[in-house]
């Protein structure tokens, strides 16, 4: 049974990580929290759901990412660029955007919960007592792959260097001739593409509804903080921890408090590591 619990945890972690990494990237580059990330997940899921009959599953994922890329640009223009420096306003603006997105979705797709069927839901693989459907296996593998890709992008590409430069210090980056606006836009685009993939990958596991994505985002927050805000590797670690703790806690502690459990863990961690497990760089010149 414990093996099964770990597998469940891994699946959870995967989806949390995708959402969390998107958030953390945006935060790192812009010092702003994207409260509409959960809704980006939702939009991604619905777009994929709509596209599956025409493009097949892989194509649908691509379509979802494409649409969300555009969404990312819109978000950057409406809720982020106007508020650079006054991040609380940006946060509330993204909240406003999330209200808009939910209601647009309710108008476009209606509120009836939709089954997002893929061929991979039916078949499942068993390793001894541990079973997992191909769909969820895909979730794990795909999210791992995507995260690896992002990690490589941040570590080794020139864009990644730009990301890191901007997260270190806007002014210096600007002085180095980096177009901060462009980098920020890209961060949001990639962020919401991540969210799209999360939606498209986990969508088939559950019904999809316009109000989905909230719990995912809350847990993603927990993961980010646990890992250390603005830090991709730390965030992935955080997501892994949160997913596992929830899956284990649900069985051995209580299932009525699942979100609380991850946040309790979070607060405990913060008491000892006030800046998360992998703190972001800070210099306080005294």
């Amino acid at each position: 049974m414990f093996g099964q619990i770990l597998v469940n945890g891994l699946v959870l972690s995967g989806s949390y990580a995708l959402v969390a990494v998107g958030l953390t990237l945006t935060f790192g580059v812009m010092r702003m929290v994207n409260f509409a990330e959960g809704q980006s997940v939702m939009i991604g899921a619905f777009v994929a759901y709509t596209a599956v009959p025409y493009l097949g599953y892989v194509g649908a994922i691509a379509a979802a990412m494409a649409v969300n890329a555009v969404l990312g640009v819109i978000l950057e223009r409406t809720a982020f660029r106007p508020f650079r420096g006054v991040e609380l306003n940006g946060l509330i603006a993204s909240m406003g955007m999330s209200i808009v997105l939910v209601n647009v979705a309710e108008l476009v797709w209606g509120t009836t919960p939709r089954p997002f069927e893929t061929v991979y839901n039916e078949t499942s693989i068993n390793f001894g007592t541990v079973g997992i459907s191909v769909q969820r296996l895909i979730c794990v593998v795909a999210s791992a792959a995507i995260l690896l890709g992002l990690w490589w992008l941040v570590q080794y590409t020139s864009l990644g260097r730009k990301f890191r430069a901007v997260s270190e210090d806007h002014e210096t980056a600007a002085a180095m001739g980096i177009d901060v606006n462009q980098v920020s836009r890209l961060a949001l685009v990639i962020g919401s593409m991540m969210a799209a993939s999360a939606g498209a990958l986990t969508g088939p596991v559950n019904m999809i509804t316009p109000d989905m994505g909230r719990t995912e985002m809350l847990n993603a927050f927990a993961a980010i903080i646990l890992g250390g805000f603005g830090n991709v590797n730390g965030t992935i670690l955080g997501a892994l921890l949160i997913g596992m703790i929830q899956s284990i806690g649900a069985v051995y502690i209580s299932n009525a408090y699942s979100t609380s459990i991850s946040f309790a863990l979070l607060v405990l961690t913060l008491v000892f590591f006030p800046r998360g497990l992998v703190p972001e760089r800070v210099d306080e010149n005294v």
């Binding site: 049974m1 099964q4 619990i5 469940n8 699946v11 959870l12 209601n103 309710e106 209606g110 509120t111 009836t112 919960p113 939709r114 089954p115 839901n121 499942s124 068993n126 079973g131 459907s133 769909q135 969820r136 596991v205 559950n206 019904m207 509804t209 316009p210 109000d211 989905m212 909230r214 719990t215 929830q246 899956s247 649900a250 069985v251 209580s254 299932n255 009525a256 408090y257 699942s258 979100t259």
Partner: protein, 385 residues
């Protein structure tokens, strides 16, 4: 439209809202306020309920079922949440000047509306929420025509023992009102019946990941798994239950709406051979009245929302509620005291079944339709009992 515009401006400028006041129902017309979720994640149900209520009102007015009075419906989008429900009850009473209220869908919202109605002395008929004792707790102005949890659970317990052979059960619920009361009642009903409860899980209702819970079922080795989970979540559960390849028979409390649910996870439910309770299911065994209503509503939904709809218990309950109000007016007139007396004396056959109220102003369960249905492998539905 002019008045609506006026409302808008009045609100925006916080100006003298006297302009925004609705003209009270002129002699001969009575306003009935209906609280429904028209936005948010239960709007899909609310939208058809609204149409069902409208149909009822039209029939009442056409066939003069309200003792010479005409009924005019005033809709409030209460979003299945307590705060909007409270404010909408206030609006319908204060602005629209309704003399009667019907609603709401979610118990937390109905509780809110019930408190307002009782304070403002406007009769409310709770037609869909099934939480126990809403009327009894709220006070004399509130009636509840839906079958309350404790009754349906007793029925389920007895029917379960007829329909299944089992010694041990796993009880899995969501922490919402019917889930929690289901858990409490079902556990001691089962123990009374000498069954062993080998697993007892309550899951947070915002947590869509049921795998953790499902993982605990096989080790507990129950003969039967019984769940009480709200409609959407039930679909998630069944999907994940089927995916986990568990073969233990599964019984579900009433929330998943027949056919709509089958359209979502019919294949999986069929694979498990899911059995569940329901207040109403569209089938050949329906009474003529039911068949007529189904035809009427589905046509109307097709026309207005242009979507294929399968009538749900909630639609029927919304229709019956308006008819119940009309019937009480017919017998008692619109004056609250007389109306409430008449409502208490209700004794009428409507689409869902036969309505009577007990001294706690809750409907007596005996007359109401309540059946078990099994989902077939092809996602079809057969009525078990």
């Amino acid at each position: 439209m002019k008045r609506r515009l006026a409302t808008l401006i009045g609100a925006l400028l916080l100006a003298m809202p006297s302009v925004a006041l609705a003209q009270a129902g002129s002699k001969g017309t009575l306003k009935v306020g209906v609280l429904l979720p028209l936005t948010g994640n239960t709007a899909w149900a609310g939208k058809t309920n609204r149409i069902a209520a409208a149909i009822a009102a039209e029939e009442v007015n056409a066939q003069d079922l309200a003792g010479g009075y005409k009924l005019e419906l005033a809709i409030g989008d209460s979003q299945c949440e307590p705060r909007p429900a409270h404010d909408q009850a206030e609006r319908l009473i204060g602005q629209e000047k309704v003399q009667f209220l019907i609603g709401e869908f979610c118990s937390s919202a109905s509780v809110a509306a019930a408190q307002v109605a009782n304070d403002e002395k406007i009769p409310l008929l709770v037609n869909i929420s099934t939480a126990d004792q809403i009327a009894g707790d709220a006070g004399p102005y509130v009636f509840q025509s839906s079958m309350q949890n404790r009754y349906s659970q007793q029925r389920e317990a007895t029917l379960l023992q007829k329909d299944f052979k089992f010694e041990s059960v796993a009880i899995i619920v969501e922490n919402n009102d019917f889930g929690l009361s289901f858990r409490k009642n079902m556990i001691d009903l089962m123990q009374k019946a000498g069954k062993k409860v080998v697993l007892d899980v309550t899951q947070d209702r915002n947590d869509t990941n049921w795998y953790a819970t499902i993982t605990r079922i096989p080790p507990a080795k129950p003969d039967l798994v019984i769940v009480s989970i709200s409609a959407v979540q039930a679909a998630n559960f069944v999907k994940q239950y089927a995916e986990a390849g568990i073969t233990t028979p599964l019984f579900s409390d009433y929330p998943p709406p027949p056919r709509i649910f089958e359209r979502q996870v019919g294949a999986q439910a069929g694979k498990i051979g899911l059995v569940r309770a329901t207040f109403f299911v569209k089938s050949d065994t329906n009474s003529p009245a039911q068949k007529e209503f189904v035809a009427k509503l589905e046509a109307r939904v097709q026309k207005e929302l242009n979507e294929a709809h399968d009538v749900t218990y909630w639609d029927v309950a919304s229709y019956d509620a308006v008819r119940l109000v009309a019937d009480a007016i017919k017998r008692g007139g619109p004056k609250p005291e007389a109306y409430l007396k008449a409502m208490a004396a209700t004794n009428i056959d409507l689409v869902l079944g036969h309505y009577e109220f007990d001294d706690q102003r809750g409907s007596k369960p005996d007359g109401l339709n309540f059946v078990f249905i099994r989902t077939g492998p092809d996602g079809s539905i057969e009525v078990v009992q």
